[in-house]
Symmetry: C2
Subunit: 473 residues, 2 copies
């Protein structure tokens, strides 16, 4: 009979070196590690965000840079096993050893558990971010701009892929397979970073903003398809057509289905919530819905964030939108910075260092990739036809950041063994530069906002919303 | 060179069975498991809470019962490795296998990671709960009732410990060491459960409420000391006086120190927050403070929740209290139910089944322990002297639930090998009964609220706050 369901449960309850209690002790140290990580993450995110907002840069850039500073590239407070780091590399683990009685033997387990928890919190962060973006988006407007967004997305995949792959093969003599991988990495768009900057600028509900969001969502779907195609090409030398068709059909069915079914369900959501008497009924009922759809998205091989975005879109149509938005904000404030700081912390910017000889070949290829990456997306804005008053440059710039999606491509390529070190490094550099350059560029091209369609609903997401106004006064 | 910091990072980005991608795939499945767990947890908590609030029972009881239903005792959706469960026992894992392509080989890793993340979210839940309780508490009132709370806490430790241990030895012939363990388990008080019920009743800021909270906090400290004493007694046959003194001194220094230093720092908190321009400045600055203090508490072998409570108390003194309370609510609504559902899910109520012969001896001992557990705490209320208008019964009843703290005692006792199966089961039964009986009892004894000192500040924490009023009308 084992009734002891709770040994590591109230695990913060630990003892002075009683061997019997090692399970509880280790749980307690995981909690200590997570608490310390959260202090570091939120401190870095607030410090970076505040500095950036003072020098008129988007706060999210500060969160990314704050992440780089605490991460694998600089202070190594927050490092992750996926980057090849071990417990010895983590300053948090060293700190736990010197302050909380962590033993060297237990370190690697604690490090693994703490990294797992922080990674998952960061994934919940981007899920909540996309849910919030969905809530702030206007489904009707998205459908209206849908065809334009589709053109932007498709051109934004084909143009950089074709130019990048061909250029690498013909200009740099890179073999076809790694060139295809690098080309595929060029197709990605980080919806998280772009959406956050748009929200900070109060441009999320503008027509440009909605085209960018719509195109970025479609790009996410296209990215999954491209990745599947490239990966199967590398693995088997041919494209598994059935997989590709399955992905495209399931993605389409999912996006349309969740919105259609969601709109059918949403009146019941309002009715149910109105009947409920316990605290947090609006937020939690909405989150149950959002997490369930996100689960379905993950189960059918799509991204969880697509599900969260669809859930937000559907619930934005209900009369509870305002209340829900207000309640999601503190949760987003807590979870979303974990995502951005982790993106920064996981990025190894040492590949950018030209004094390391082995970086130089990569730097040359990277320069080419960066030019293709930026131009290949910037031109997408100008494919939008028949729209006189549109900031077309802004649309293209909005598609630039590759962010975490680009890193996933690089990671899959690396794991496949198809990439040379220089090509690998070049892809990482391209991802870093496009990610960090996009937020200030976006602010620049939106400098003189022509129209802000729904400033009220978008204002709640704005980080330094009052800043541009302050400047003018 | 390993730059691939992000393989499992945007891990929801997974592929159709590409072997290269197994790390990303596994991360994606952990996310899927966590999303599913959260859907189940929040659904169980809302369903249980709503049913209880309709039949005039505290919603938190519903969350606990909801947890029991989804947990190890019933549907086994949410089970934990600490309870001896494996991936095969978890219906979530089975569901992932049939819907999300989880392989049998990968199941145990996914199960371990998902359990780790959910356990940690539940610990963050109780930390946020105690932070919120601290925010709702009144430091001056707590200091005023301090001596009364101290008497309640000390009597509430000595009375059940002495009666329980002596009774087991003389009435039931239990050997001394297991009897001391059972006696020690009787001393615990679950501050989380009591505080939540008080908040739901709008009694958190009443004099009785503040005495209970004060006594429960002191009881937590005493509990750690008692556990350390008992554990060292079992291990070495003697009491390690230095450890005990270290614990008492560090606990005292921590509680007093964090409040004194916190009050010194808090004006700077307000100044800093007023200077900040990015979103979530009040909440995040407060959480950085709370998590840092919680970390210190864990590092010096205390509980993290004591740190969170102290941080809440200090920040409640600042002018940002109201704003902070409002922003903490959605975060608490999301995290706190995870704690209560997990408490329920981890409790194996099958020990209560009298048709199983091996349970019967335990049931007899348990009956004795339950009587001692309830009476030993109820009398504490009547030790409060010189207070005419006080609901003394309510104070005693407020100290009854053993909750997670009692389970930790049982777990440590089990791990030490000192307990017989019957004694072990009896302790678990005592914990279950006191935990589940306390919320309705508390509501009963508070039925006719005599005075509610600060109904406004306490109302935000109330779950079914309007219910008693509705009844009267």
């Amino acid at each position: 009979m084992n009734f002891f369901s709770s040994l590591s449960f109230l695990t913060d309850f630990h003892l002075l070196a009683t061997a019997e209690n090692s399970e509880a002790e280790s749980g307690s140290l995981v909690l200590a590690g997570v608490l310390l990580s959260l202090v570091i993450i939120h401190f870095a995110s607030k410090l970076g965000g505040e500095i950036c907002s003072r020098i008129n840069l988007p706060p999210v850039l500060g969160e990314l840079v704050g992440g780089v500073l605490v991460g694998v590239s600089a202070f190594k407070l927050l490092v992750f096993p996926e980057a090849g780091c071990t417990a010895e590399d983590s300053l948090i683990i060293t700190f736990l050893q010197s302050t909380a009685g962590l033993t060297t033997e237990a370190s690697s387990n604690i490090f693994a558990a703490q990294s797992e928890v922080i990674s998952l919190l960061s994934e919940l962060g981007v899920i909540i971010l996309l849910f919030e973006i969905g809530l702030e988006s206007d489904l009707k407007e998205l459908i209206r701009v849908g065809p334009l967004a589709a053109i932007v997305a498709v051109v934004g995949v084909i143009a950089p892929f074709a130019t990048g792959t061909a250029g690498l093969v013909y200009l740099f003599g890179v073999p076809v397979i790694p060139a295809v991988f690098a080309g595929a990495a060029l197709t990605a768009t980080s919806i998280g970073i772009t959406a956050k900057v748009l929200a900070e600028l109060g441009q999320l509900s503008s027509k440009e903003g909605q085209i960018i969001i719509g195109a970025a969502v479609l790009d996410d779907v296209l990215g999954i398809v491209v990745l599947a195609v490239v990966a199967s090409l590398v693995k088997t030398g041919e494209i598994q057509i059935t997989n590709v068709i399955f992905l495209i059909v399931s993605a389409g069915a999912f996006l349309i289905g969740s919105i259609v079914i969601g709109r059918f369900i949403s009146p019941y959501f309002v009715g149910l919530v109105n009947e409920m008497k316990t605290r947090g009924q609006v937020l939690l009922t909405a989150l149950i819905f959002a997490f369930a759809i996100s689960y379905i998205a993950t189960a059918i091989q799509l991204e969880a964030i697509l599900g969260a975005f669809a859930a937000g879109l559907v619930l934005a149509e209900t009369e509870k939108r305002k209340e829900l938005e207000e309640q999601v904000i503190p949760l987003a404030d807590f979870l979303v910075p974990i995502f951005f700081v982790c993106v920064g912390a996981k990025t190894d910017v040492s590949v950018l260092n030209p004094t390391v000889p082995s970086n130089r070949e990569g730097l040359i290829i990277a320069t080419f990739l960066i030019v293709v990456a930026i131009l290949g997306k910037v031109i997408t804005g100008f494919t939008v036809f028949g729209q006189a008053n549109l900031n077309k440059l802004a649309i293209g710039v909005g598609m630039i950041p590759r962010g975490e999606v680009g890193l996933v491509f690089a990671g899959v390529g690396s794991a496949s063994g198809a990439l040379s070190e220089a090509t690998e490094a070049a892809i990482i550099m391209m991802v870093i530069v496009t990610t960090f350059v996009a937020p200030p560029l976006l602010r620049l091209v939106f400098k003189e906002p022509e129209t802000t369609l729904q400033p009220v609903t978008s204002s709640s997401l704005e980080g330094a919303s009052t800043e541009p106004l302050k400047e003018d006064s």
